[in-house]
Amino acid sequence: MWRNVTESRPLPVVDYLKIPEKGEPYLEGYRCKKCGAIFLGERNVCSKCFARNEMEVIKLSDYGKLHSFAIVYRSFPGIDVPYVSAIVDLEGGGTIKGNLINIDPDPDKIKFDMPVKLTYGDALGRKDKEGNSYLSYFFEPA
């Protein structure tokens, strides 16, 4: 007898997070072939050099270094604080923002340019109206 097996896969938290059928999740960038600028999310025109239709899709690195950060103590209601909001420059280009986890939220412990690694995991239990789970990315010390 036929049985419908719907394996519930999480959805990506942002459209530049890709979850392949097989293999590990990764972040996708669009790189301008003319000037090398890297963007998050699909686009056809480069806002740096204005070239059209020169974008190539690239896989962004899972490694980078901490450019800047803030330690957030007051956020919107229901959001756990404190947490570290981090700006990370990825190896090979591209800058992304996210939570830096597995580190004390202490300015003396967090070093500029420290190496970090991307990890992927459930979006802190957050679900959308339809009850779907989401996969997010985080940074942790490398």
Binding site: R74, F76, Y83, A86, T95, I96, K97, A123
Partner: protein, 380 residues
């Protein structure tokens, strides 16, 4: 092209007026500016009105419904925290273009309480606290920490900016607060987003400010005694920078507008006697000492440590109390800054008067990003 003069300018005392309407708050400043100029609404040829919270609701026309429906053209503008400066600049341009001789610019805002920015997307799940924070205190903390990374700027140096601006506001009866905040109080206040404590965040207030701009011909007709000349009006959007899609860049945009403003005015930073700049957070003010060329790159910390930016210093910054203590009603801020500079150039700033002020600068920045800079000169 005619030179443009401010002949009337005023602001209401900032505060919280939940029982009033936005047009009603704006109308008050408009009438005050008209009185300051000795003019009537009948004399106005056009109006530019800045407001964010009701950007789609014809605030300018509704102000005229309260103070005089003359039929003049009204344009409503919205440009984040540069909204008021944009309204002023549109008025300036209309006179520069030779279209009008007498124009009214109004900025008004009624604010809610609480954190600005970072509201979740409508689809999917909220990203706040998941992909970092989009709250304004955090975004500007990250910008400040970038400065700390490059120049070793400390939490204490950022905090001193807040001490200074709160001190200045004790001399400004139109500021929301007139309270001294010693360094310990600032550093030990509730941490919002390190390194910005609660006392290092601008105050959400309701407020309005208005200015009457006129052509040189009209200024001469009215009498030049209290007229203030607009030497430069510059605006820039954010040029491409490597990180600006995830980290709004308030630096490149300010530098672009500042360069344009100095060129228009034919003056340099050393000629500026006082500055009202966009201290939406203490971390932001630090960046703009350098962005506006008030000191060399890397010397911003020294500017605050050595007192150059205090009243009595080389180039006093935010003697009004700034957004940190005077308050930050978004759409009104860009004209309230112009009021402050004009008041000093007219020698009418009372206890906080910058002695001998001849040239002053205003700066606002709205994330997204818009930067507006004006250079104003005492009529001599």
């Amino acid at each position: 092209m005619s030179d443009v003069y401010v002949v009337g300018v005023d602001m209401i005392k900032f505060g919280r007026f939940p029982e009033r309407s936005v047009p009603n708050i704006g109308a008050e400043a408009a009438l005050m500016a008209l009185d300051d100029a000795g003019l009537s609404i009948k004399d106005m040829q056009a109006m530019y009105c800045g407001n964010l919270g009701q950007a789609n609701a014809m605030v300018g026309q509704r102000i005229l419904q309260e103070i005089g429906q003359t039929g003049m053209p009204v344009v409503n503008v919205a440009n984040a925290c540069a909204t008021g400066a944009t309204a002023f600049r549109e008025a300036w341009m209309s006179i520069k273009a030779g279209m009008y001789d007498v124009v009214l610019a109004v900025g008004v805002e009624q604010m809610g309480k609480g954190l600005l920015g970072g509201a979740g997307n409508s689809d999917g799940i909220p990203k706040e606290g998941l992909l970092g924070s989009g709250t304004m205190p955090c975004v500007f903390a990250e910008a400040g920490m970038e400065h700390a990374k490059e120049h070793g700027t400390t939490f204490e140096q950022f905090a001193k900016i807040s001490v200074k601006n709160h001190h200045h506001s004790t001399m400004n009866p139109k500021a929301m607060y007139q309270i001294e905040t010693p360094l310990d109080d600032v550093m030990n206040a509730e941490m919002i987003s390190y390194p910005n404590t609660k006392l290092m965040c601008s105050v959400n207030v309701d407020g309005s400010a208005a200015a009457i701009l006129v052509s040189e011909k009209k200024a001469k007709e009215l009498g030049m005694a209290r007229a203030v000349k607009v030497r430069a009006s510059a605006m820039a959007s954010d040029p491409y920078t490597d990180r600006d899609l995830v980290m709004p860049d308030v630096n490149a945009c300010t530098r672009l507008a500042a360069k344009d403003a100095y060129e228009q005015a034919g003056v340099g930073p050393e000629d500026i006697n006082l500055v009202e700049l966009h201290d939406c957070f203490a971390t932001a003010e630090m960046l703009h000492y350098e962005n506006l060329g008030l000191c060399k790159d890397g010397d911003a910390g020294k500017m605050i440590d050595e007192g150059h930016v205090e009243l009595g210093g080389r180039v006093p910054v935010n003697v009004s109390g700034g957004l940190l203590s005077k308050g930050h009603p978004l759409g009104a801020t860009g004209i309230a800054n112009i009021y402050e500079i004009c008041t000093h150039l007219r020698g009418e700033a009372g206890k906080r008067q910058v002695e001998g002020a001849k040239i002053g600068m205003t700066h606002v920045i709205g994330l997204g990003t818009a930067c507006g800079i004006h250079i104003l000169e005492k009529n001599s």
